[in-house]
Symmetry: C2
Subunit: 276 residues, 2 copies
């Protein structure tokens, strides 16, 4: 791992690291915030952030204001890129497919299957690296925004025991029936919709093997709410199977980082409680 950025921030350090990933076969960049206790060598829990469509590791670390709360709760916060990138990596002209739009799964279809293995990267490779190179405990939380909210919910549900806490801002909760999800799943997983259900939070909730208390914030003025996000489907499923969900509809808030920054403190406190 090579450190390519480091900035003092709220008593800790905001760093960006780059490393060759065996999951994606590319160089990956990752933001790592080290709170004061970690800088002093004390082991801290790790909270993984997954960003939305088009984002890199930069959006969250520059705009969310998370460092203040990471310092307060002594959480290491790791912000990944949203896909493999580079000249040899397949892409699409659309903003919602290919580079910047990895959907946090392992693609099975050509031309994506070789590099687009974000699930392996986020769930296995990256935590192993973080826990090797930084003073990190094995207590892990995961959260994200939009496509990254989908990632946080589905990865937590698909990997029981891997995470102690999960939360999401404006998540895509039912990608197998909403347009962004259907387009991405068709490309990455192929036309057989049965395979899609294993990457759809609403479907996964029905057969969940553990219960992590979920916190979800959703802006009521979000331009993608009705067509792409549909939090009411998550609420209905959680109610039906008795899964613990706190969904907060936030009047007036949109899909931007202004929304995330407004409630990031609540999410960090939610994770800090679970991560101890």
């Amino acid at each position: 791992m090579q450190r390519i950025e480091h900035h003092a921030s709220l008593g800790g350090k905001q760093e960006v690291w780059q490393h060759a990933s065996r999951s994606t076969g590319t160089d990956m960049k990752v933001g790592v915030y080290l709170p004061p206790k970690a800088l002093a060598g004390e082991k801290c829990p790790v909270l993984y952030w997954l960003s939305g469509l088009t984002c890199t590791e930069q959006n969250f670390i520059t705009k969310a204001g998370a460092q203040q709360f990471a310092a307060e709760h002594n959480l290491i916060v790791v912000a990944t890129d949203t896909s493999p990138r580079g000249e040899g990596v397949p892409n699409d002209d659309a903003y919602d497919l290919g580079q910047g739009a990895g959907f946090y799964l392992n693609a099975t279809q050509a031309p994506w299957a070789q590099h687009f293995r974000m699930e392996d990267y986020v769930v296995d490779e990256l935590p192993a690296l973080i826990e090797q190179h930084f003073p990190a405990t094995q207590a892990r939380g995961i959260f994200g925004h939009s496509m990254g909210g989908h990632g946080a919910l589905t990865l937590a549900l698909r990997h029981p025991g891997r995470y102690r806490s999960a939360s999401a801002f404006s998540p895509i909760v039912a990608p197998s029936i909403t347009p962004w999800g259907r387009k991405a799943f068709t490309a990455y997983l192929g036309p057989d919709e049965a395979a899609w259900k294993a990457h759809d939070a609403v479907q996964l909730i029905a057969s969940a093997k553990e219960q992590l208390p979920l916190l979800v914030d959703q802006g009521e003025a979000d331009e993608f709410l009705a067509e792409q996000l549909k939090p009411e489907l998550l609420v209905a499923q959680c109610n039906q199977v008795g899964y613990p969900l706190t969904l907060r509809m936030q009047p007036g808030y949109d899909h931007s980082y202004y929304f995330i920054a407004s409630f990031i403190g609540d999410h960090m406190a939610h994770h800090a409680r679970a991560l101890g």
Copy 2:
């Protein structure tokens, strides 16, 4: 004035407005944060932010995390662009002259004099617009970063009675003897260095007609500290003439918005105390 962006943020609204400026002869964009009380129609004090080289109105409103403290103290926060911009506006290929580098003064030299009138814009035109269009009191504070720290200090010192509070992050305190300042002043004000002193904070402190308690934060790992910023000159001058200055050297901090976001809460509290 035309509103071109609006986002719910920390219980208030982060907006961006555009208007034709008579000072600069161009369209200017300006970020306006309205705290909860202002949204409810109650008049609030206004804190003006001046950004550094290359910035637009976007840098501060997306990266500084000021909304949280503006909401807490019920301050309207106005973030200007750093210069006039557009096709008919003179420019320079360098990042430190022309568009993005207005230095918050009225240029007297060709080709800059026609449009580069940022002092008139910031001190007179913009406050009049803000006080007309928003629920704003006439209690004004001013702060900024780097070139904008120079702007905040010099405009407060040049216009006694206009501002009740001033502060700066990593300000250019002695532009008439440091490289960024000498280059800009030569272009905008001409080769007669006597004219430069009226736009140099260290020079202005010597003959200040009022005393505003100044708060200045400066990172010790700032890459521009020794050559461009020289806060020790401000300290020496303030000590010599008895001007109240709190300069805080912050170990490990650099020149970035990570530094600003780390101490923005202290600056907002400093202004809130003075603005009442």
